[in-house]
């Protein structure tokens, strides 16, 4: 073991991480909660909960409006949160960080604003088969409005994107390429740097859905050179209802506002309304101030642990769980890409995932069961629904053991 590895092992202590998450001390149906549904949403550490609590107790006010003390305090906290997000993904400027309600709203914002201005009949939008419904439907709606065409790159049986098919579909007609960084159902980590580079060669703008990535992979938007990168706070130990749209400044500047309202204008008259500058142009109305501040606290918390340390721990759990599942003959794994994030989707022969989910719930184990909002890729893999365990920084080997034991019990019940 090198010094660096020793350092990481010393720094990461899962028991101390767990003690930061109050909900992990609760019980479900009389047994300790075993929370393995982190792909859906993560639990929140005490520091995030306390930040929100403290904001409402001592700093609550509307931002960018009042001249009074509290308004200045709240504005400063909110804008500091933006700066934290900017540093987190290494954007060039705070103006490139737009707060939204989450990944879904970020995608819809771009599909509407960028799409309505720059996409027209015959243009093409290229996605992959493994996209979440939220990275399919907004583009389908855009195609309906404009007469553009949605192209879909093939996915290999192991859950990797067929890059040759992707390149074949790419042409000068391609105006937007929108790809998930980490698949929520397959766990595949896509080679987004290569995808961005090849898409830029034909002049397409590249949009990356980072919802499942940012808590597990260090993201540097300048190094990636993506045009848009979006994610949600709640999968990153932050509250629900807050998310981020990163966009290159010159592109955001060229886009029309998404929603009209307060804060997004410089002046309003019935003859002519002048829109505000970035980022305010895209933040109409009072935003989720506490959420943004909570997100900044969550980012600082995760960076304190270290994303590389988090990823190493989660990967250890994934490897352990994958090996154990492979030892059960009735288990079929869905998504076996060589480069995977800590997502383990599986089916049990002849047993519907909802029955598995309910029976695991009786053992206090929370997993996701269903189509995971990725019906097209599951259909391609020949299943309607899957079971998904997804790991976070606070999960343990003992919890994986509980999962495996419970799965074996389900198989016994249905035998």
């Amino acid at each position: 073991m090198t010094d660096v590895e020793g350092d990481i092992a010393l720094k990461f202590d899962v028991a101390s991480v767990r003690s930061e998450f109050p909900i992990l001390g609760t019980t479900v149906r009389g047994v300790p909660l075993c929370y393995l549904d982190n792909g859906a949403t993560t639990q929140k550490p005490l520091c995030v909960i306390e930040t929100i609590d403290s904001y409402y107790k001592s700093s609550n006010s509307n931002i960018h409006r009042g001249v009074h003390h509290l308004s200045q305090v709240a504005t400063e906290l909110y804008e500091n949160a933006r700066a934290t997000v900017r540093r987190f993904i290494n954007a060039a400027s705070d103006k490139e960080i737009i707060f939204t309600r989450g990944t879904t709203e970020s995608i819809n914002l771009v599909a509407s604003s960028f799409g309505n201005r720059f996409i027209s009949q015959g243009d093409e939008i290229l996605i992959t088969e493994m996209e979440h419904h939220s990275n399919i439907v907004p583009w389908q709606l855009l195609c309906e409005r404009t007469g553009a065409i949605l192209k879909v790159a093939n996915v290999h049986p192991d859950g990797t994107v067929d890059i040759e098919d992707f390149k074949r579909l790419l042409s000068t007609k391609t105006k937007i390429v929108s790809v998930v960084h980490v698949s929520n159902s397959l766990g595949t980590i896509n080679p987004i740097k290569d995808i961005i580079d090849v898409a830029h060669q034909v002049g397409a703008k590249v949009f990356i859905d980072g919802a499942q990535a940012v808590a597990h992979i260090e993201v540097d938007v300048q190094e990636l050179d993506c045009d848009f990168y979006v994610f949600s706070g709640h999968k990153l130990y932050a509250p629900t209802g807050i998310g981020v749209l990163y966009g290159k400044e010159e592109i955001l500047n060229a886009m029309p506002p998404y929603q009209g309202g307060g804060d997004m204008i410089l002046s309003v008259s019935f003859d002519k309304t002048i829109y505000n500058e970035l980022p305010a142009k895209f933040e109409a109305g009072t935003p989720h101030i506490a959420g943004a501040i909570g997100l900044a606290t969550a980012i600082d918390y995760l960076l304190g642990i270290g994303i590389a340390n988090a990823a190493q721990h989660e990967h250890m759990l994934l490897d352990y769980a994958t090996n154990a599942m492979r030892g059960i003959p009735q288990v079929q794994l869905v998504g076996t890409a060589p480069n995977k994030s800590a997502v383990l989707s599986f089916t049990l022969k002849g047993i519907h995932p909802h029955d598995v989910g309910s029976l695991l719930d009786r053992d206090g184990i929370a997993i996701r069961a269903g189509h995971l909002c990725t019906q097209p890729i599951l259909r391609k893999f020949g299943v309607h629904a899957v079971n998904r365990a997804s790991f976070a920084i606070y999960n343990t080997i003992e919890e994986v053991d509980r999962l495996i034991a419970s799965v074996q019990n389900v198989i016994r019940i249905f035998a």
Binding site: I351, H352, P353, H354, D355, S358, L359, D361, A369, G370, H371, Q375, H384, A385, I413, F414
Partner: protein, 151 residues
């Protein structure tokens, strides 16, 4: 005689048996009424085929994909319905719905017959949709309304 604790245990022998070997499964050669039901939550999909003569359900069969709860309910319910009038069927639907949506400790109406095993679904409120898919689909078939969703 089913004890209360057994009823609470959703995945008991009757349900597992009907899941494994569903009764009345398959498409009949002829039918007078048909409807399709979806549960978007899990992608469950049922088709119901009925033969109704003089308001009497002579035969009812189903096809489709589903979890143990929706399959077992479809199997049990189709068995219960054969020979009943459409009014009697509606009466059974009302009873069934009120039981599966009732409080976990409330008594189970004996009129439900074998279907009473499904009452265990009350322990898992999100699964009530799985238990009512067959019922909603049959209802729509009787009323000649094509597609139903339990979302």
């Amino acid at each position: 005689m089913i004890s209360q604790s057994d009823i609470r245990d959703l995945y008991q022998e009757v349900i597992l048996d009907h899941n494994k070997s569903p009764r009345n499964f398959g498409k009949p050669t002829e039918h007078t009424h048909h409807a399709e039901g979806f549960n978007p939550l899990c992608g469950d999909h049922l088709q119901m085929f009925l033969n109704i003569e003089d308001n009497i359900i002579k035969d009812v069969k189903f096809e489709g994909e589903g979890c143990a709860i929706s399959k077992a309910t479809a199997s049990l319910m189709t068995s219960e319905l054969k020979g009943k009038t459409t009014d009697e069927a509606q009466h059974l639907f009302d009873k069934f719905l009120s039981v599966v949506t009732s409080d976990i400790d409330s008594p189970i109406d004996p009129e439900l017959g074998k279907l009473s095993v499904i009452a265990g679904v009350r322990e898992f409120p999100v699964r009530v949709k799985c238990a009512t898919l067959a019922m909603h689909t049959i209802k729509n078939a009787i009323n000649n309304e094509g597609i139903v969703s339990t979302e």
